[in-house]
């Protein structure tokens, strides 16, 4: 499938980003006989999904984090995917149907990580490709820009992603860092999402189910823990979440109305003020920890690459899904969950294959 002529390495498709979407897109392309160059900035595959913990209690709670591991394993067996880790796209130019791509070593990456799933070139490489799929993912909303929520001021205000890290690290001991598990935990939904004022008038899609699963996991690990979820409008999707929510209502308090203030006393813990059951403002309530359900925001990388490849017109600062030969898929287009990103990436791969198979012979064709 390599383009003949010249010694310059070539591939059919460049995929930028080796997270859930990038891996799925690479697999889908390789399955149908295309050569893929997969460029990932970090020195490991997986992106943010690799940082998630399993949310299973007695049974699987469909958090889908393990789908990533399955996908990485499967990708190892595909000969036609060339993986570059610790690498970024530096330049791109287009001549006719061909893109000239310069990739090079990424700066500011954790070099202690051993790149297991691909190679890490020490110098620039120039590649020719015929199509591009951006799978550059999302950034987590920076909660410290909401100072009333105390994030960054106190160790007792954390994000859902950080709670995932804690659970991943502490296994079934759950949440103890020397001092034992907290006895009262409050979740705060929609941090950074649904903010018309900040130009983010969108729902981040996943946070309600993320918090629900985290709350469920904590309740499972620590049955005595008091857990409150402050929300605006609970989004009980995908469908498995709905029944899970119903079963959790006995253990977890779901309270409409999000806190306007999280006070962080120097001695630790948090004091939360929010709307009470009866619609009035509550007396401040003390919790040991507050967990902010931070939303997904467009990443800076995405913006840069979107400009480089001329992907315009996305909403809220995300990139548009594009059209062949330049597409984008996954959470750089809009917030999605893991299965949603996989499906989106597979679909994008299919669009690209169908577009470029017009002038190329594709396997089974």
């Amino acid at each position: 499938m390599t383009i003949s002529g010249g010694s310059q390495p070539s591939a059919d498709v460049l995929i930028v980003g080796g997270g859930v979407a990038g891996i799925a897109a690479a697999q889908a392309l390789a399955d149908r006989g295309l050569d893929v160059l997969l460029v990932e900035k970090q020195r490991r595959l997986g992106g943010k999904a690799a940082e998630l913990a399993c949310m299973a209690t007695q049974q699987c709670r469909r958090c889908s984090a393990c789908l990533l591991e399955d996908a990485i394993q499967a990708l190892q067996g595909t000969r036609s995917v060339r993986i570059r880790l610790g690498t970024v796209v530096e330049e791109a130019s287009r001549t006719g149907d061909t893109f000239q791509i310069t990739v090079g070593p990424a700066k500011d990456v954790d070099t202690r990580v051993t790149p297991l799933h691909g190679v890490t070139p020490k110098s620039q490489e120039r590649w020719k490709v015929s199509g591009v799929i951006l799978c550059t993912g999302f950034d987590v909303f920076d909660a410290s820009t909401r100072p009333f929520l105390g994030y960054g001021r106190s160790k007792d205000v954390i994000t859902t992603l950080e709670l995932d890290h804690i659970l991943a690290r502490n296994g079934d001991r759950g949440w103890d860092e020397g001092s034992g598990p907290p006895s009262k935990v409050a979740f705060v939904q929609c941090v950074g999402s649904r903010e018309r004022k900040a130009g983010r008038g969108y729902c981040s899609q996943v946070c309600c189910s993320v918090s629900l699963r985290l709350a469920g996991k904590l309740a499972f690990l620590h049955p005595e823990m008091e857990i409150v979820v402050h929300y605006i409008d609970l989004q009980l999707q995908p469908r498995s979440v709905r029944s899970y929510h119903a079963s959790l209502t006995k253990k977890v308090v779901f309270q409409q109305g999000v806190p306007g203030e999280i006070i962080t006393p120097n001695e630790g813990g948090v004091i939360i003020r929010s709307v009470a059951e009866d619609g009035t403002a509550v007396e401040p309530v003390s919790f040991d920890k507050a967990v902010l359900a931070v939303g997904m925001v467009p990443s800076k990388e995405t913006q840069k690459l979107g400009d480089m490849f001329g992907l315009k017109g996305g909403r809220f600062g995300f990139v548009s899904a594009g059209a062949p030969p330049v597409l984008a898929a996954g959470t750089c287009v809009f917030p999605r969950d893991i299965p949603g990103s996989i499906d989106d990436a597979r679909d994008a791969a299919d669009r690209l294959i169908r577009a470029i198979s017009g002038n190329k012979e594709v396997a089974h064709g």
Partner: protein, 168 residues
């Protein structure tokens, strides 16, 4: 009881010409950090905005809570939807005044007569005690300006309509 009367659904237009408040999604963040939400009865600005949207005229007319606002504008800062709750609070006060003259702050008289609610002009003694000899250049020191100022205010309908308060 929330019921919709003849004009309930148009009422919001009397309160504010702005559109932003319609975006309220009742998240409650405005109430949650509001100092006056601790008053008794509490100021619940989200609920006031909702009452405007639902046109609960009688309820709103009799509501004293908009007047307990500390005016810190914190709600305005934290509102994710840019509803501008603080300005809605003021708009509700204005609407109340327009529909019920007993709502007009008595300070209107002082404001009209001397430009100030505080007796700034009578502060000279205290100021002298801390070493300031010069008089404060407030409007009371300039009768011609005061007259113009009053003339300006008289162009405002609600002030003119209640000019009996100034004792003629």
């Amino acid at each position: 009881m929330i019921a919709l009367g003849e004009n309930s659904l148009e009422m919001y237009k009397d309160v504010s010409q702005e559109e932003d408040f319609k975006f309220c999604m009742t998240c409650g963040i405005c109430i949650a950090g509001c100092p006056a939400s601790r008053a008794d009865p509490p100021l619940l600005i989200r609920n006031l905005v909702r009452k405007v949207i639902l046109g609960q005229e009688d309820d709103l007319l009799n509501d004293d809570t908009p007047w307990t606002c500390v005016t810190c504008s914190r709600c305005e800062e934290v509102c994710p939807q840019d509803v501008k709750p603080f300005e809605m609070g003021l708009a509700i006060r204005q609407w109340q005044c327009k529909n019920d003259e007993t709502r007009l702050p008595p300070s209107l008289v002082e404001l009209y007569k001397r430009g100030y609610t505080q007796a700034v002009d009578k502060s000279q003694e205290l100021r002298a005690q801390v070493g300031m000899k010069d008089k404060l250049p407030t409007i009371t020191e300039y009768p011609d300006l005061l007259e113009k100022y009053q003339k300006m205010l008289m162009q405002i309908e609600i002030i003119k309509a209640n000019d009996y308060m100034f004792g003629g």
